[in-house]
């Protein structure tokens, strides 16, 4: 059956969980391309025989219906295989990108599964993203830390345990029990985990239904 190999290729990636990537199936891709080439050769033969007959294509088609339909089927198969190959490459590229966002370590561990061009793509994407996150050239914060944008980059926290003077990148805080401070969310998260502070919820909206 035509196009069966390419479907196998797609199934391979579809059966894999989103945070994983199967190894780049070089062999199968080559076979699919070979298949496409074979279709092309068959088509070329048919076109050549048509040209030899000296008739115009419509007449030739009327006289040789079998050959004409074969021509159409071969063409459709080429298009289908191309589409499936494209999907395969596109899906892999998307996963390489999304792994960069979801987990830094996973992005490194899939390196052996990638083809040479994919490695190149991954490196270029990394460079681009780092540049965008850097201060000066970009927004100045690591966007991959939290994929859902926080409602507010700053958090108000209430101190639960005395911990004296704490120096954080954003400034010095005197964390005395039962006081409230504003600090950047990423700096607060460590303190919240350790139980020194807790986030205060500003539920002060009477205007909308919360979803």
């Amino acid at each position: 059956m035509f196009g069966k190999r390419a479907v196998e290729l797609i199934n391979e990636i579809a059966n894999c969980t989103p945070e994983n990537l199967p190894a780049y199936n070089d062999e199968l891709v080559r076979l699919v391309i070979e298949e496409v080439n074979e279709h092309y050769n068959q088509m070329s033969d048919l076109v050549r025989s048509m040209n030899r007959s000296g008739q115009d294509s419509a007449e030739w088609g009327m006289e040789h219906p079998e050959e004409a339909s074969a021509l159409v089927v071969h063409h459709a198969c080429i298009l289908r295989n191309k589409r499936l190959l494209m999907t395969y490459v596109k899906e892999r590229a998307e996963r390489i990108k999304s792994l960069k966002w979801s987990s830094r370590t996973a992005a490194m561990s899939i390196r052996p599964q990638l083809s040479a061009t994919e490695v190149e793509f991954q490196q270029a994407y990394d460079r681009l993203l780092t540049k965008y996150c850097r201060k000066g050239t970009g927004v100045g914060m690591d966007l991959t830390l939290d994929t859902t944008p926080p409602s507010d980059p700053e958090l108000s926290v209430r101190v639960r345990k005395d911990c004296g003077e704490v120096v954080l990148p954003s400034g010095t805080f005197f964390l005395k029990k039962n006081t409230c401070h504003i600090m950047p969310r990423e700096e607060a998260e460590g303190l919240i985990r350790d139980g020194y502070v807790e986030a205060l919820e500003h539920d002060n909206c009477l205007l909308r239904w919360d979803t």
């Binding site: 507010d152 700053e154 108000s156 209430r158 003077e165 954003s170 400034g171 805080f173 005197f174 005395k176 029990k177 039962n178 006081t179 409230c180 401070h181 504003i182 600090m183 205060l200 919820e201 500003h202 539920d203 002060n204 909206c205 009477l206 205007l207 909308r208 239904w209």
Partner: protein
Amino acid sequence: MNLDAAGRVIGPADWPVVLENIKSDCYASNERKVLVFVPATNADSVAAVRILEVLLRAIHLPYSVYPVTRYAQVQETCISELAGDLENFRTVFFINCGAQENLLNLFSPAQLELLRVVIVDSHRPIHYNNFWHQNIFIFHDPADGDVTPEDMPKPDGLSDCEDEEEVGRPPPAEGEPGADEDDDSDDDSFKENRRPAQRQRLSDEAEHSRLPERQAARAAIRRKRKEYLGQGQTFSKPAACLLYDLAYQLKQDDPFLLWMSIIGLTDHLVHQQISPEKYAEWQLQYEQAANVYAPTGERVEVTVQGRGDAGPMTVEIDTPSYGAIEPMDDYHFVTLRHWSLHESMLHSPYVATRLKTWHDRGRKKLEELIARMGFPLQHAKAQFVAMRPMLQQQLGPKLLQHGGDFRLDRDVKFRSFMMKVGYAVKLCAADTVHGVTALLEVCEQPGSEDDCPMHRFWEAWEALGVKNGEGIKAGIKRSQRFQKALLSDGGLLIGRKAVREWTSYRLFNLSKEDIANRELLGQPLALLKLGMFLREAHYQEKQGRKNLVLVGPMSQNPADRGFCLVVGICASGPTLGSTKGNAFGQMFRTAARHLNADIQQDGFETSIIKVQADDVLRFLRELGKVDLQDSL
């Protein structure tokens, strides 16, 4: 400093400018943080902080909130937060504190040079040193009456009449405002700078000849100060309301902020810090504001799945609104919507003092009133909200009809507000105030780690969130416990005739009395309510109106074990047009100065002080002397 400038008491028009200045200063400096000090003692302060936080967050200013109970804590925090920082101009907010206190005592002059102090406080009078200082900004609504430079005594260290002679002068003998003792220490640096210049100008002889003149001027100033501070403590617009006005000007106002300012206003009504007339005036303003946010009454069409095979169909419904603030009639019955009508009336000071419900006779009378109003007793003893809606609606008219026979006047009713959130939370302003106050004062587990006012402040803070119906309900339960204690112990004190009559006040001394609910009644606002209860009870027994001094039970709290609170309460709540405030602050100060005892006076209410239990009797004797001298 320019003495001709009209002080730094600023009207509403200038408030946004101050905030704008803070913003630009903070953005320009390295240290961007704003400090906020707030007393952990009343509902108005909690509500005000919530408004201020919204405003500061809107302009992305980082801040730290410090709930405090004494000025010593403010000082302590300032030492750690500001001491090392001599380069950056910093801003400090005082919510509901600071106006009455001489801030030159709290900060050194060098510190004040680098500080912008913004005071949003309802306590009056404003201390004259704060009034004149260029870096101290005091929010004041002119609708509360003008604060003019002419009325204001000159600040320390700047008038010509104060000089080196005051240093080392023996403490003033009688009844002089305590603020005078600050004179010497405050602004020495100013004096130092001025003195050489004066000396060069005047020869010794000339100076000598001017001496009596200057003494006279000095005496005049002292007189003016005494007169100024002698008018006693009063309250102006609640801090939450001031901040709501600011939010309105910044176009940041929304229903939640309005609710917070209603809480502030109702807090002042419940604790008799505002005259009913003034309350009605502001309440009306808020009613108009609430109408702006009210649902428009428009109807919208929604598509719903029909029953069975009917398919989708459209229905017309009122525009759904998430939260709303609705004006309503409320009564001086505590936490009516969370209690039964019978219990709520029984325990509310308004009814209790009029019917003497601590007696069996009083209870019978109350039941008679309920019967006359046409409420079956069985229903009146069930949850009020579970009562038949028709009966609920009849409460107002029936009270009007029959209340008069039981000394319940028309003023048992007042206009108030109700907040609704979705279909889950429905709260009245007065109930919320009772709940929040109880959260601030009543501790669930005395002696535990969380038994501290600062911890309870955040409980109250959270309870004011719109979705935290549970928090406020817990507070209302605690306030009901308190009301029961108030009735039983208050009734007991009256029954025992524990009162002592002095020249100008009645005295209750609970430090030696056997009181069942020490913990509940030992807190400042609880004691104030007990005092008001006793005052009203005596008034209703036709014994005339008189000031009242109440010594609280000895505190069991480890932080201030062995101390008793002493509260001074005016003969009547504030009335329209009366300028006379609570003068006990000055009397307490004078008495304390004459006494060499451990007395803490650095709370935020001047009429509440802490005295060591062993010194109570000496203190009261001294207070009696001061009282006698004043009345002569």
